[in-house]
Amino acid sequence: MRPLQFIRSQTQLVILVVVFLICAAVVPEFLNERTVLNILKTVATSGIVAIGLSVVVIGGNLDLSVGSVFSLMCVVSVKMQNTSPWLGLIVPIVLAVGVGALNGFLVTRFRLNSIIVTLGTMSVWAGAALLYSPTIMTVPGTFYEKISNSAFLGIPTYVYVFFAAAIVLQVVLFKTKFGRSLFFQGVNPEAAEIAGINKNRSTILSMVICSICVAIGAILQTSRVGSGYPISGVGLEFSALTAVLLGGVSIAGGKGSALRTVIGVLMLQVILTGMILMDIKHDWQSIVKGALILVALTLDAWQQRAAARNPGGLAA
């Protein structure tokens, strides 16, 4: 692939670099080690949620329940710590399989719209998290400290977990039947069904994977901050979706990758960090996040229309 072609096919990467350079130019302290490390630390937890979500979105569905599930897994993980450190790891993940399977079951069995289904489960799990643990809980043991304090080459281990998860899902998406079927069903679910693609299985599996990612994110989060908070996932579905879309995953399905989502996650965090360092009031964050999701959506819709108008114009 020639360099120019590569750059054109990697719009999101180019934008990330440009945004980064702008921030570095405007804020002198942006380029120092601590800032970069902070960005990586911050994205690691919510980033895992975003890459999990991207798997669902590529398959043509959406999971709005990731925020609530995140809250629930945070408090479950902390409470389980009281019994045994290992339970704090295992129980949230087992629970996540069930939560994702429930979403997938409702969507496939009753042919419901995934947005509506997960809007429902979102509310259910938000309530469940509060009932289970109405207040903030601190982590009793030192197990979590071990997780959060361990580092390799000066970078915390959980940052590696994030990148490892992205690479694993990238391989799953492009090198397994399940992953590749998601692209087909995302582009045209009816044609996929007629062509004998097991749409129901892929949909359920994608939602299970997404929930597992959320659980891992929640475990990392609790170990990082040392506590479990029943509303820690509020709004997470929006920032995760924003990152997914910024990474160039199409909301219509069938387009994107886990690595692209990583780019989207970094892009979002670079912008937010840049704002903090520029002393822009915190209240602006929500507005900027909202604006970004709208911009990403508009770009996505514009690209889809352009592709429909001029099918030969876009290289595959």
Partner: protein
Amino acid sequence: MTGTNSEIYIEARKVRKVFQNTVALDDVDFEVRKGEVHAIVGENGAGKSTLMKILSGVHQMTSGELVIGGERAAIASVADSQRYGISIIYQELSNFPKLSVTENIFMGRQIRSKAGVVNFAAMASAVREMLQEYEIDINPRARLDNLTVAEKQFVEIIKAVSVYGTKVVIMDEPTSSLTRIDIEKLYKIIENLKKHDVSVIFISHHLEEVFEIADRVTVFRDGRNVACIERKDFDEDELIALMLGHSIHKFEKRRIDRREVIFEIRNLSIKNRIEDFSIKLYKGEVLGIAGLTGSGKDELIKSLFNLWPARTKDLYLKGEQIAIRSPIDALEKGIVYLPEERKTQALFPEMPVYLNILAIWLFHCVKRAGADKRTELREAEALIEKLGVKTSSPRIPITSLSGGNQQKAIIARLLAVGPEIMILNDPTRGIDVGSKDEIYRLIRQLAENGTSIVLVSSEMEEICYIADRAVVLSKGVVRGEFSDEDVNMGNILPCAIRSDKRGVGA
């Protein structure tokens, strides 16, 4: 029939329409009198719909002239067409299902009180009057999605004549999804339209209906107006002969060995669509299932793959009973399916040609889908060559190919799995003549190599061209079965269009 006066309302002279390289209408003359019911018959692709689309402003003619109400007219858009008093009643109606009959009729032209508020009472009473005038029994307050298909059509007609002042109503196959009782109601409305001096252009494949309602019938064939016949001269055999013309060739038939039954359907029934259908498919045979839109053939085929619910259905593969719960089950048994709607049911639009071709192969023919890209491209390229898919590269999006080449790519997708049985639903719909021919030859070649093929089509010529045996469906009932030399237009067309009062849902 009464109320016909001989004053001409629309006169079309030497209308010509060329699409890219094909001549759809070849210097057609056509006229409509005030208050007459003018039927148009002809095979699919004869040019009926093209002319109607020109009259309703969807297409513009390449050359020719139009005189409407005594003046030269130019129709450049649907709005122009409406201004000249022409309305087309579509099969898929464009309406507002959640609103009432009254609101639908007055949509965009609401009656307002002096204060500028929509005056529901005035609109409701106006609608009640209109409905009475045309003897239609519908509650003006009923929500549209609670009405039957027929009633929705009636609402559309009322809207056209009462609100838009339509002088000519075009009905394109209005009866294809109606029950017998609804058809009678439609006739009554047409009679009332005539009384109001409104002309009706009635397109139908069913000659019986034409004879019941039309004052005149125009026959289209190969883009030409071949005859215009007055009611007093109607003759069924003559009309069929005119529709067929001389364009049917005597196709060479082959002798095939019908000993080995490979697939069998027994007692297939579908609610309101198909009654007790049974058929055997022999090895290496091309079996045609012919039927017009609304004959039930589409539902029949879909039900085989459980994409449409069947009441009863027994399937046998090589003598053993099998169950097919999804297209996946069918694939595992060597049965592949080409759906009728290429765009919505077969294409993966933004994906490259090679992935479109490998959509089944990837998931059913290789152990791991992560085989390297080179193997995949090689597999796809072999199929591209085998089927003569014209594409500059296997990596370009499928949508950049012509319709014919898209279709060949989809057929390549089916061949990739080496199927024993292929069920093709309208495989040549909307593609150019050249690709059609290639697909026909491919079908014949596959059959000669032992693949068994079910060809479902609404184009009778196609069935006659390549089918070794054909069953003809009309209104859910088998009207005839023909083998070898008997698979010809003279036998099949009458079965498909001579609709009597028998049939499912009648």
